[in-house]
Symmetry: C2
Subunit: 199 residues, 2 copies
């Protein structure tokens, strides 16, 4: 019997995922919950489901930035908002996340990507930032980027996105525990509690 486990479904490119990416490892450790990092294309799911959160909605968009700024401050880290949005190279950033999740360095890659995006204004997936992120976490950029461009990784990315859809995941960040979906950084505590109750 394994301990409490959460599947963390995310796309780099989701703004609210910043709040989770910066604290999830620490929260998981302190709460004794194991986390599986599951990159997928929330963009593909949102387009398919006609669920466009902010583009064309300036009032809601402005709120989102302010909300993230306030929440980040409450968590104890800064947020320089608005950050560049939407991402130019969304899929590239997340294909590298697929490689990272296969090889076990997703937490470092995601956190570093988000830190640069929200603290230094550097877009994930764009060069030279992408190579700098990889180097900073001790990964060989040439190797990682070559692998991320392979068809097999593209297929794994699509398969993960299909799996997310089958689980009724429609946004990032989402936490899945025993078939229950919890959407949003503000549901992480609920997901952890659920994981403890069912484990």
């Amino acid at each position: 019997m394994s301990g409490p486990t959460i599947e963390f479904w995310f796309s780099i490119g989701s703004t609210y995922t910043y709040l989770t990416a910066m604290r999830l490892e620490e929260v998981a450790k302190s709460s004794g919950v194991e986390v599986r990092w599951r990159p997928f294309s929330v963009r593909a799911v949102m387009i398919e489901q006609k669920n466009i959160p902010f583009m064309g909605k300036p009032v809601k968009m402005a709120y989102m930035w302010r909300d993230i700024e306030r929440r980040a401050e409450a968590y104890g880290f800064p947020a320089r908002v608005p950050a560049p949005y939407p991402l130019t190279e969304f899929d590239r950033a997340n294909r590298v996340a697929i490689v990272a999740s296969e090889e076990g360095w997703a937490p470092a890659y995601v956190r570093q990507s988000y830190r640069r995006w929200f603290q230094e204004g550097e877009e994930p997936g764009l060069e030279p930032n992408l190579r700098s992120v990889l180097a900073a976490i001790g990964q060989d950029p040439d190797r990682a980027l070559a692998k991320a461009s392979r068809d097999a990784v593209g297929r794994a990315y699509l398969a993960a996105t299909d799996e997310a859809k089958r689980m009724n995941v429609f946004g990032s960040p989402s936490f899945v525990v025993s078939g229950e979906v919890f959407w949003g950084d503000d549901r992480l505590d609920d997901a952890i509690q659920w994981a403890k109750n069912v484990s």
Copy 2:
């Protein structure tokens, strides 16, 4: 100098507002925060801003019902979901709320409307439920409904909606504290903390 105060902007018809309507008075009392109940038409704002949260989005809609069910249970009250949605007589329900807020019985009216909606499946704004709600909270249905149908109340409803837009309120429930907007039942604690810090 007044104590900490929150403007609670809401529409009867918003599903997540159930979670706030059932507990706001108690939370306000225990935290020593004064609440001004401000009905407006979130439907008008959402149509204008092309911000349609659930209609035509079945996956997100199903999530919303389950999320409300789980959160209600955690708060200690039931939620029979899905409740009838969207409301047939949205404006009528909220014009009565305008009268209620002018006369000081908004909390009782809103809570009773939501209780019947989410616990007994009775749509707010529809007869015979609307009259039953009013009678149950000690209001004369004939008098309240006659007043709610007056042009002056229609104008007050429009004016409140315009005021909400000027404050960048785009969803229900929203909490406004010193120009800061907090959107969603899950931001009530943040709004209370903000109100205490600025008062």
